[in-house]
Every structure is written in structure tokens, then in C-alpha cells.
């Protein structure tokens, strides 16, 4: 009886035939997920950093725009944004491939969170650091670049890593607009095979992808926790 249940479990989640048949598809999904995740992380983090730097100039209308953007993208569920952009943009004549929509939305969401994290980091650098650098004749941008940002960015590594992991996992949302990432490949395979094994393969693929990232994040966290004066 127990043996029977066990073999049904294996048959449902670890069916060897299914694994063999759909392995290439899942691997294709892995590649797509990695591509989108990498694009999102690079562009989202950079855009967030640029926005935080722009904010240090304290131009009031500009900062108001940044705050509105940041709050909107932090408040809305990413799925809502994905659907809104994917089905909304064609109505105004813009047709983006689903890959681009997913990238755009997630990059903007990451940028919004990253901006807040970088901004908090910049604000947490004591005023004395600015004053010391300025008193040696270093300009505003020089002070920002050599004194403030290197310290601020170290402080932002742990929260930014966590946020980045959380947002890149949202690449799975691509499945609802037909991006051929891991989950999309897995659900397609699942409906063709009538077996849950591809979903399990997808889950394992996510783990293989993300566990190293999580561990790397933890490593960075300890590496960057340097002695403060």
C-alpha cells in the first residue's frame, strides 16, 4: 500500500520519461529566465542609482517626479503592471514583444526599489563626510563619486541583494504573457504530458538558479560589513 503510494508519487513528480522528453524545453526556459533576470538586474539597478544621484541635486520638480514614479512602482503588484503594459501599449500603437514588456516592467520596479535603497544609503552618510571633502576643494560631484557613493553603496548591498532576488523571481510572471521562461515551459509541458513532473523540474531549476544567488548575497553582506568608525 505504502509502496504503491510512493511509486505514484514518483510517477507524478519524477517521471523519468517526462523528464527526458521535456528537459530541453526546461533548459530553454532556464536560458530565457537568466537572460531576462540579468537584463533586469543590470538596467534596474543602474537606473535606480541614476535616479538617486539625480535626487541629490534637490531640484524640487524633478524630485517630485522621482518620488511619484518610485511610490507608484513600489505600490502596484508587478503582475498588474505586466498585464497593463502588455495589453495597454498596443492600444496606443506601441507593440513590444512580451520579452521586452517583462524586462521593462521588472526593470522599472527594481529601479524604483533600488532608488529608495540608494537614496537612503546616501542620506545615511554623515554630513561631516560631505563637509570634509568639500573643505579640501573637492566639488559636489567629486564628493559624491569618491566619498559618499562608495560608502552608501556598501550599505545598500544587503537590502539591494534581497530586493533584487525578490524581483528577479518575478520573471515567472512572464508566463501569463507567453514569455518562454522556466515556468512557461513547465506549464506548457505539464498540459501536454498531463503530468506534474515538468513543474517539479521548473521548481528545481529555480532552486539551482537562485540558491547560489542567495548564498552570494549572504557572502557580500559579510564582506561589506566593514568596521565603521
Amino acid at each position: 500500500m505504502a509502496m504503491e503510494a510512493w511509486s505514484r508519487f514518483l510517477d507524478t513528480f519524477f517521471n523519468l520519461d517526462v523528464i527526458e522528453r521535456y528537459f530541453p524545453a526546461i533548459m530553454k526556459g532556464v536560458v530565457v529566465t537568466i537572460e531576462i533576470a540579468a537584463a533586469v538586474v543590470v538596467t534596474g539597478t543602474l537606473l535606480g542609482l541614476v535616479l538617486a544621484i539625480v535626487r541629490t541635486f534637490r531640484l524640487i520638480p524633478m524630485n517630485a517626479l522621482i518620488v511619484v514614479f518610485v511610490d507608484m512602482f513600489r505600490a502596484l503588484p508587478p503582475l498588474v503592471l505586466v498585464l497593463l503594459v502588455y495589453f495597454g501599449l498596443p492600444n496606443i500603437g506601441i507593440n513590444l514583444p512580451s520579452f521586452a514588456v517583462l524586462w521593462l516592467v521588472l526593470a522599472l520596479v527594481l529601479a524604483a526599489f533600488a532608488e529608495e535603497i540608494f537614496w537612503a544609503g546616501i542620506l545615511s552618510i554623515p554630513k561631516g563626510q560631505w563637509e570634509a571633502a568639500r573643505s579640501t576643494g573637492l566639488g559636489f560631484l567629486g564628493t559624491l563619486a569618491y566619498v559618499v557613493l562608495p560608502q552608501a553603496i556598501r550599505l545598500t548591498v544587503p537590502p539591494l541583494t534581497n530586493r533584487t532576488i525578490a524581483i528577479t523571481k518575478n520573471t515567472a510572471l512572464g508566463t501569463v504573457i507567453g514569455v518562454g521562461e522556466i515556468l512557461n515551459q513547465a506549464t506548457t509541458a505539464q498540459s501536454f504530458s498531463g503530468n506534474a513532473t515538468p513543474l517539479m523540474m521548473g521548481a528545481i531549476a529555480y532552486m539551482i538558479l537562485f540558491i547560489p544567488v542567495v548564498v552570494f548575497g549572504r557572502l557580500l553582506e559579510t564582506r561589506f560589513a566593514w568596521r565603521r568608525v
Binding site: 568639500r134 576643494g137 566593514w226 565603521r228 568608525v229
Partner: protein, 248 residues
């Protein structure tokens, strides 16, 4: 002040308001080449504000500040070019914690004076040597004692060869046993001919190193004179009360 030497620092009618409250109410002060002028006064007198107006970390509300004959408050003045000629040392050191002592000292040499890295390091090492910390060049601020950090901060200002150095309570964040090392460095600077404007309450140091002592209260210079006179026989009642308080 009867000599014909032009002053290094010339403050005229300096006023500073914060939100309609006047913190400096008309300061006139000349600091001559190689002079060490000491500023004392109760908390809130405006001593830090006075120093910070001298390199425009605070924007003066009225009056002028000239350094080496250049009005730093003038619109046309390149303030960054002036600031490197005005060294500043802070109560809280404000070393860059992510850089070694040497990098702290060479940053402005490289990025402001555009010295090649090798020359900057040579000058940086020379400055660290003057404060007795050449052996700590590779240490990070977090690995140094408060006194050592403050000496690195002095070296950072010194390396730019300023015309005048401003010290805002350079020893008041230090444990008593570390104060001496910083004061010794300042004595050395004085001996080397550095012009200095120092806010501090180290009376013993003032007595043997200062040329003049300024007593400030409520945004005004109440009285000034040689340290012996100010500390022993001040003419103003407010000065007398303050000195008595200090001596306790």
C-alpha cells in the same frame, strides 16, 4: 596689529543668520601670517559658525572674508580653488572610513590638484610623516585611535599646503590621554610657520602656543588680547566669568 604685513585672513563685518536669528552679529578679525589665534567662548557663541563662514561651509549673510587678499564671498571667486588653500580640521575628524590613511590624504591631491598618483603618494607620505603617522599609511580609520585619526585629518588638510588652517575643537572628542599628541602636532605646525585659527578650550595649550586669544559671546567678539592677559586679567566681566568656569 601695527605691522604692515597684509593679513592672511581678513574678516570684515561678518554676519550670519539662521532663520532670522542672527548668530554672528558683525565680526571683524585679522589673522596675520604665522599667527595662531585662539577662539574661546561659551556654547552657542557662534565659534563654529565663524570658522565655517571662513571657507563658506556656511554662506555668510553679510560682510566679507578675504583669504590671501581674495574675497571668498564674491560671486566670481572659485570657491573650490579657495577651499584647498584653507585647511579645516573638525571635532569629529571626518576621515573617509572606506579609505586608508594615505588615500584619505591623497584624495584631494589627485582629484583636486590633479597630481599624478606617484607624486601624490610622496606628498601624502610626507604629510603623514609630519604628524608622526607614516607607519600608519595603510591603516583604515577604524583601525586608528581617535588621536591618530585626528592627526591623519590634519595631514589631509596639510598636504594641500593651505595658507591658513581652521581647527574646530580638534581635541574635544578625544580621550584625555590622546589630546597631547594632537596638540604637539599643532605646536609643530606653529613652529613651521603655519597660520592657524583655532577654536578650543585647551587653556594650557593657548597659554604657550597662541599669539592672541579671542573671547566670543552671542555672536560678537567681546575681547581679545595675548593669552596671559585674557586668562589672568580679563577686562570684561563676561570673559572673567567664562574663564572662571573653564578653570573649575
Amino acid at each position: 596689529m601695527t605691522t604692515g604685513t597684509p593679513p592672511i585672513l581678513e574678516i570684515r563685518g561678518l554676519r550670519k543668520k539662521f532663520h532670522d536669528v542672527e548668530i554672528l552679529r558683525g565680526i571683524d578679525l585679522l589673522v596675520l601670517p604665522q599667527e595662531l589665534v585662539f577662539v574661546i567662548g561659551p556654547s552657542g557663541a557662534g565659534k563654529s559658525t565663524l570658522l565655517r563662514c571662513c571657507n563658506r561651509l556656511e554662506e555668510p549673510s553679510a560682510g566679507s572674508v578675504q583669504v590671501g587678499g581674495v574675497d571668498i564671498t564674491a560671486r566670481s571667486t572659485d570657491i573650490n580653488a579657495m577651499r584647498r588653500q584653507i585647511g579645516m580640521v573638525f571635532q569629529s575628524f571626518n576621515l573617509y572610513p572606506h579609505m586608508t590613511a594615505l588615500r584619505n590624504v591623497t584624495l584631494a591631491l589627485v582629484k583636486v590638484l590633479r597630481k599624478p598618483r606617484a607624486e601624490a603618494e610622496r606628498l601624502g607620505m610626507a604629510a603623514l610623516d609630519r604628524v608622526g603617522l607614516a607607519n600608519k599609511a595603510r591603516s583604515y580609520p577604524g583601525e586608528l585611535s581617535g588621536g591618530q585619526q585626528q592627526r591623519v585629518a590634519i595631514a589631509r588638510a596639510l598636504a594641500l599646503e593651505p595658507k591658513v588652517m581652521l581647527f574646530d575643537e580638534p581635541t574635544s572628542a578625544l580621550d584625555p590621554e590622546l589630546v597631547g599628541s594632537v596638540l604637539n602636532v599643532m605646536r609643530e605646525l606653529k613652529r613651521g610657520g603655519m597660520t592657524m585659527l583655532v577654536v578650543s578650550h585647551e587653556m594650557r595649550f593657548a597659554r604657550d602656543a597662541a599669539d592672541r586669544v579671542i573671547f566670543m559671546d552671542h555672536g560678537l567678539i567681546v575681547e581679545e588680547g595675548p593669552p596671559q592677559r585674557i586668562f589672568s586679567t580679563p577686562s570684561e566681566a563676561r570673559t572673567r566669568a567664562f574663564i572662571a568656569e573653564l578653570g573649575r
